[in-house]
């Protein structure tokens, strides 16, 4: 009897010890714990000269997140959007707020090149990865927190400058660009490409951002074979084209970021004044690829608009890039894991094949399109020419010296 009690006691002790060990090693069933969301900040312009682009970027980001069910690698995603108001100081303030108050891990945008330069040091210090929206600044590369897409401003327009000389046959060119870092880079990249191909840039003009009336600059144009304009968005571009037309000048116009600037609304407003203007675009909705068809279908269903532009596409693809990076790290949003994961991404996007340089600059093709009238509607044509962009253009497009 005594032995029986002893055995029971030993058995009880063993049972207690077993439960204790199981608890200590974590094998006991746990209560479910909610995973922390990954916070993606977004800086878009809803007011100011490029106010019309904000909703387009937002639609692109939201579509990509909706496709992912606002979740990546088992973690929920929280999107926090702020208005950068087409103003560099506002963009910087809002970015600091997103980082300090909202504790974002990644930021999509802002758009303007000078805003990139303003926030780059703080982004690097805070180890927050930032993506450009429509091209980025060469000067932001050393900070190694900038995902520059589709490429740097100069590298995008450099091959187009060559194209204007070699394929269109123009020999002299005037450039007019908005006086801020981004558009100066676009205009100078095109000027360098044009000059490297053998052309002569006879004049460069720099109206300030938000110039309401371009006529004084148009009146000061010298004579050239072609005028290239690089202004800050659809509104300023439309004003310039309208006033150029009103002034009765006949030199042909070419442009950059045509797809972003020639929105269906802008084309409808401009009417015949824009017809025939050739431009370089990073995207055209008419690309015949499965990725693009899926994107166009999705954005049309979401916004009700038939012709998405590079604004929606860039935001969509950049969000996809961020999601792919997070997927590769298993949901680890830390800079040290996410930055190399993004640089290793190779994917087919709505815009075409995409890869990155070791510095975080995307390498993608560009397209030449033209404003035309089709079935009574003013639209951009399908691409007339594919402009291959090489990583080497990032350096080759630099170092332009303005003619005196």
């Amino acid at each position: 009897m005594k032995g029986k009690r002893l055995l029971s006691l030993i058995g009880g002790v063993c049972l207690v010890l077993t439960v204790a060990v199981l608890l200590a090693t974590g094998c006991a069933p746990k209560a479910p714990v909610a995973k922390e969301p990954i916070k993606i900040g977004a800086l878009f312009d809803y007011t100011g000269p490029v106010a019309d682009l904000g909703p387009k970027f937002q639609a692109g980001v939201e579509l990509a997140l909706e496709e992912a069910n606002y979740e990546v690698a088992g973690r929920p995603i929280k999107l926090i959007i702020e208005d950068s108001a087409t103003d560099v100081t506002v963009a910087l303030d809002k970015f600091k707020t997103l980082v300090a108050r909202d504790k974002i891990h990644i930021c999509i945008g802002p758009l303007m090149g000078d805003a990139h330069l303003a926030i780059a040091p703080y982004a690097a210090e805070s180890k927050v990865i930032v993506t450009s929206l429509i091209n980025g600044m060469y000067e932001a590369i050393p900070y190694k927190t900038y995902v520059i897409y589709p490429t740097t401003v100069d590298a995008q327009t450099y091959p187009f400058g060559k194209y204007v000389y070699e394929k269109l046959g123009y020999r002299t060119m005037i450039t007019i660009g908005a006086n801020y870092a981004g558009k100066i880079g676009y205009a100078n990249g095109a000027a360098k490409g044009f000059a490297d191909a053998g052309g002569t840039v006879v004049q460069q003009l720099w109206p300030s951002v938000g110039t309401p009336d371009y006529s004084p600059y148009i009146g000061a144009f010298k004579t050239a074979d072609v005028v290239l304009y690089a202004l800050e968005g659809p509104g300023p571009v439309s004003r310039f084209v309208y006033q150029y037309h009103q002034a009765g000048l006949t030199m042909p116009l070419v442009t950059i970021t045509q797809d972003g600037d020639y929105t269906p609304e802008a084309l409808a407003e401009l009417g015949d004044a824009a017809l025939g203007i050739l431009g370089e675009s990073s995207y055209t909705w008419q690309l015949d690829t499965p990725e693009n068809k899926k994107f166009v279908q999705g954005i049309t269903a979401k916004t009700g608009k038939l012709f998405p532009s590079c604004s929606e596409q860039n935001a969509y693809t950049l969000t996809k890039v961020v999601l792919a990076g997070l997927e590769a790290t298993g949901g680890d949003e830390s800079y040290d894991k996410l930055w190399p994961a993004i640089l290793n991404i190779k994917m087919n996007t709505a815009q075409g094949p995409l890869s990155f340089t070791a510095e975080g600059v995307a390498v993608t093709d560009m397209y030449v399109t033209q404003a035309e009238k089709k079935d009574g509607n003013y639209v951009l044509s399908a691409f007339l020419y594919k402009v291959p962009v090489e990583a080497a253009f990032i350096e080759a497009s630099r170092g332009w010296v303005e003619p005196k």
Binding site: W206, P207, P212, S215, G219, G235, Q246, G248
Partner: protein, 286 residues
């Protein structure tokens, strides 16, 4: 030569728009002693009302000019009757109140018309350019110059050749004596404010041929208008006209000839003119 002529037409047409906006501001300041910083916002309201009529509803451009005028005038009248009449002889409070209206009206415009900047618009007949002496000139700019001259003559006539103009001038020189003669100066004030706001609203539509319509137009154009009033001198139609033309031409030639200094040329001109003539080029001593 081409640069000179095109800049001349560009500068005079822009100067005429500045004259239209500044004339009302100048008279209201001179007669009523009211610093109405919302005057530019009334111009903006007029531009948007005109856009709705001419572009959205595709109605006559002339009708848009009149509707824009009434749009600006009604908002102006509301500000004067409900708020400003309580703040006569209180310039600090007037400045705060009316600048507050710049923000309020800008936000209302964003709510009603959206943040998208509206492109320039004009009458179908004024679209494109016409050749004079082998040189192309924008038709809408030539029309603006003609309208500006007509309004300047009408305002000059109203101010100098009519009984109402005599009362206004008397009120500017000696308010107490004018009221002592049995003239209801408050009613005159209201009429003048209404007229100034009407011209501002109409100017918004006329100026939209060059500048379009956008939500921060109120503060952009106000800055120009204040410079024109300072340069031309307070309280006279002729001063506003001269100031508008001087600033319009300096701004245009500055951008065409010295684009790197384009942001400073009008301020530089203002400093030089103020040093030479502190009361403005044709300012009344009030």
């Amino acid at each position: 030569m081409e640069l000179l002529l095109s800049s001349l037409v560009n500068g005079i047409s822009f100067g005429m728009v500045l004259f239209l906006i500044a004339s009302g501001l100048s008279i209201v300041m001179g007669l009523m002693g009211i610093v109405n910083l919302a005057h530019g916002a009334l111009y903006m309201v007029g531009a948007y009302v005109g856009w709705t009529i001419a572009v959205q509803l595709k109605l006559d451009f002339g009708l848009a000019v009149i509707a824009g005028g009434f749009g600006g005038a009604l908002v102006g009248l509301l500000i004067e009757r409900v708020f400003l009449r309580r703040l006569y002889k209180q310039p600090n409070e007037q400045v705060l109140l009316t600048y507050g209206f710049v923000y309020i009206l800008s936000n209302i415009v964003i709510w009603v018309w959206g943040g998208y900047r509206r492109l320039q618009f004009t009458a179908p007949a004024l679209y494109g350019s016409m050749y004079i002496g082998g040189m192309p000139f924008a038709k809408d700019r030539l029309a603006i110059i003609a309208i500006g001259i007509a309004v300047a003559i009408a305002l000059w006539y109203l101010q100098n050749k009519t009984r109402m103009g005599a009362i206004v001038r008397a009120g500017m020189d000696d308010k107490e004596m004018t009221m002592g003669l049995g003239i209801n100066l408050e009613r005159v004030f209201t009429f003048v404010f209404f007229l100034a706001a009407f011209i501002a609203g109409s100017a918004g539509v006329i100026g939209a041929q060059l500048l379009g319509a956008y939500s921060w137009l109120g503060s952009d154009i106000l800055l120009y208008a204040l410079i024109v009033v300072v340069v031309g001198g307070l309280g006279s139609v002729q001063g506003a006209l001269l100031g508008g033309l001087v600033i319009g031409l300096i701004d245009t030639f500055g951008k065409a000839l010295f684009p790197q200094f384009a942001m400073f040329t009008i301020y530089l001109a203002m400093i030089v003119i103020l040093l030479a003539k502190p009361s403005g080029l044709l300012g009344r001593k009030v």
